[in-house]
């Protein structure tokens, strides 16, 4: 039996989220006394995987095959299913991002395992198995019980963090048997865009509202995001008016995010907006109106005009980061 962790392969590199997911698995394994096994799909060097052993990973199944470099959800699901059987995994963990959302529900159907997304913490009971997940778009938490033998979770990672636990790691090449490895999805055209930080994966998010007064003024937000290595986001009116792309809208009807730090600049904090960001570990609010509801949910608040404060913040941050 094992705890199986899906290690996301980003062009031959692993990301911090895989270390965090391993830390979460390590905490589970201390209660369950099960070993942690990783599964990584697509070409990746052994050295790149070594970082995982610092966090308790003892064994990695590596599907080191170029034909699987491109993610095909249906095929990845089948590969992971075979890894589940190979390791008799009772718990299968995915990151709570687009990849996890795409693969975990499919795996749930294939192996008839209960799936809990948006997991907020470690289980609060193992017999029966119960965890808290986000519900009502951040306005509540639901305790969900899973009765199936195998269980699939996507933990929200920023609320958990990294915990070191060095062990020895064995990397084994794993050869899945896939009858139809090719995608039924054919990319006919691709337009590249300047790649900023993905909003769903970002540690830090810099977000602006109507208080920034025009689409052009968002350039100062982009500069701040650049300095911080952050993703940019916006409130609903800003997206609806076309100041920013619709895929940057965070809130109850846009994207729901849980970064480490969320900067809300010129955002009043309507209930629908707050619902989409309440998972953030730290909220920094900057607004001209000291009574704006965003200050009720913020950790740090600054009353003032974002147009003046953001450039100031940016130049001060550059100094701080240069010193580090």
């Amino acid at each position: 039996m094992s705890i199986l962790v899906y290690i996301r392969n980003v062009n031959g590199k692993i990301k911090k989220q895989s270390l965090e997911l391993t830390s979460y698995a390590q905490a589970l394994s201390e209660s369950l006394d099960l070993p942690i096994v990783g599964i990584v799909i697509g070409e990746i060097a052994e050295e790149e995987l070594q970082a995982l052993k610092l966090y308790g990973m003892k064994r990695v199944l590596r599907v080191n095959d170029a034909q699987y470099n491109k993610r095909v959800n249906r095929v990845y699901t089948k590969i992971i299913e075979q890894a589940v059987i190979e390791t008799d995994a009772k718990y299968i963990l995915f990151p709570d991002n687009n990849q996890g959302k795409a693969i975990a529900p499919r795996l749930s159907v294939r192996i008839k395992a209960g799936f809990v997304p948006h997991v907020m913490d470690l289980p609060h009971s193992y017999e029966p198995f119960m965890v808290y997940k986000r519900a009502f778009t951040g306005k509540a938490l639901a305790s969900v019980q899973v009765n199936t033998d195998r269980k699939i979770l996507t933990p929200m990672l920023n609320s958990f963090g990294l915990r070191e636990n060095p062990v020895d790691l064995t990397i084994e090449d794993f050869v899945p048997e896939i009858d139809e490895p090719q995608s039924r999805l054919n990319v006919v055209n691709k337009e590249l865009e300047a790649g900023g930080v993905s909003l769903m994966d970002a540690d830090i998010v810099v977000s602006g509202g109507r208080g920034l007064r025009s689409a052009e003024n968002f350039s100062i937000l982009e500069e701040l995001a650049n300095t911080l290595g952050a993703a940019t986001a916006c409130s609903r009116p800003v997206a609806d008016d076309g100041w920013r792309p619709a895929n940057e809208h965070v809130g109850q009807t846009g994207k729901i995010i849980a970064p480490n730090v969320y900067f809300a600049i010129g955002i009043s904090g309507a209930i629908q907006h707050v619902a989409g960001v309440s998972g953030a570990k730290c909220i920094v609010a900057i607004n001209t109106d000291g009574d704006a509801p965003i200050f009720d949910v913020a950790d740090y608040g600054l009353v003032g005009d974002g147009l003046k404060i953001v450039p100031e913040l940016n130049s001060l941050l550059k100094e701080v980061l240069a010193d580090k």
């Binding site: 529900p105 209960g114 305790s143 006919v188």
Partner: protein
């Protein structure tokens, strides 16, 4: 071409969330029910495609798994411009049950493609689209922001990490969409509301299927410790660096 939009019936986004005294069930007293916002965007785009004479889409069907209480929400979908509504008569306990019911219905029908909102505003499982695709062995396409056609063949544009891709799919596709598929939901006009009354709303029996998970109880999110008000950008940076230690 027929397009299917899967609809979830959820509390209005301004709803204050409350539970019963035992905290085991959502208290829906006085709750205004609406089309799940992401599903509403899906429906908006589907109706726009149907109204666009150059697109082969000529029928939009909406489907929901729920008891009679979801019918006003389906009527609203008909008012927005769907041609037909289907209600599968079951109050689902989890996303798996919902997906199984939808699949049972879809496998006997012919659709050009199927659209699901990324998640529902109540139980936030973000699973139905992916589960449905797996049960039916269909291809799923996420973050779709545009649909165009080459003759009768749909081309889906999706947002990926480094840009936008146009993709075509062999067989039926399940699109999993969020904001961007449409920007603003379509508001029904008076004519739409009038004609919605006479459009077909078919009720079909649910098939038997056990849920995989169980929602046992609820609690409110932990309260924040309260905001620390600061006076300058410098103070803010000091706090982020030295106190919160996040930069």
């Amino acid at each position: 071409m027929r397009v299917l939009v899967c609809i979830s019936n959820v509390p209005d986004t301004t709803t204050k969330i409350r539970f019963n005294a035992e905290a085991t069930k959502f208290d829906d007293t006085g709750v205004q029910w609406v089309i799940n916002p992401w599903d509403e965007l899906a429906l908006t785009r589907a109706v726009e495609l149907k109204e666009d004479a150059s697109s082969p889409v000529n029928e939009v069907v909406i489907v929901s798994v729920g008891l009679a209480v979801v019918e006003p929400t389906l009527r609203k979908g008909l008012a927005i411009g769907a041609d037909k509504a289907v209600r599968i008569d079951l109050e689902p306990n989890d996303a798996y049950q919902t997906a199984v019911q939808l699949a049972e219905y879809i496998k006997n029908e012919e659709f050009g493609f199927i659209v699901c909102g990324i998640e529902s505003g109540d139980y936030n499982d973000a699973s139905v689209g992916g589960m449905l695709a797996e049960i039916l062995d269909y291809t799923s396409v996420s973050s779709v922001s545009f649909v165009s056609f080459e003759g009768d063949k749909p081309i889906f544009q999706r947002d990926v990490a480094d840009g936008k891709e146009q993709v075509e799919v062999t067989g039926t596709a399940v699109l999993i969409v969020q904001k961007g598929f449409a920007r603003v939901p379509k508001i029904p006009n008076m004519r739409g509301i009038m004609t919605a009354r006479s459009k077909p709303l078919e009720v079909i029996e649910a098939s038997s299927c056990e849920p995989l998970v169980e929602f046992v109880s609820y609690k409110m999110p932990p309260q924040k410790g309260g905001v620390k008000m600061l006076n300058s950008a410098q103070e803010l940076i000091d706090c982020l660096v030295n106190e919160a230690k996040i930069i």
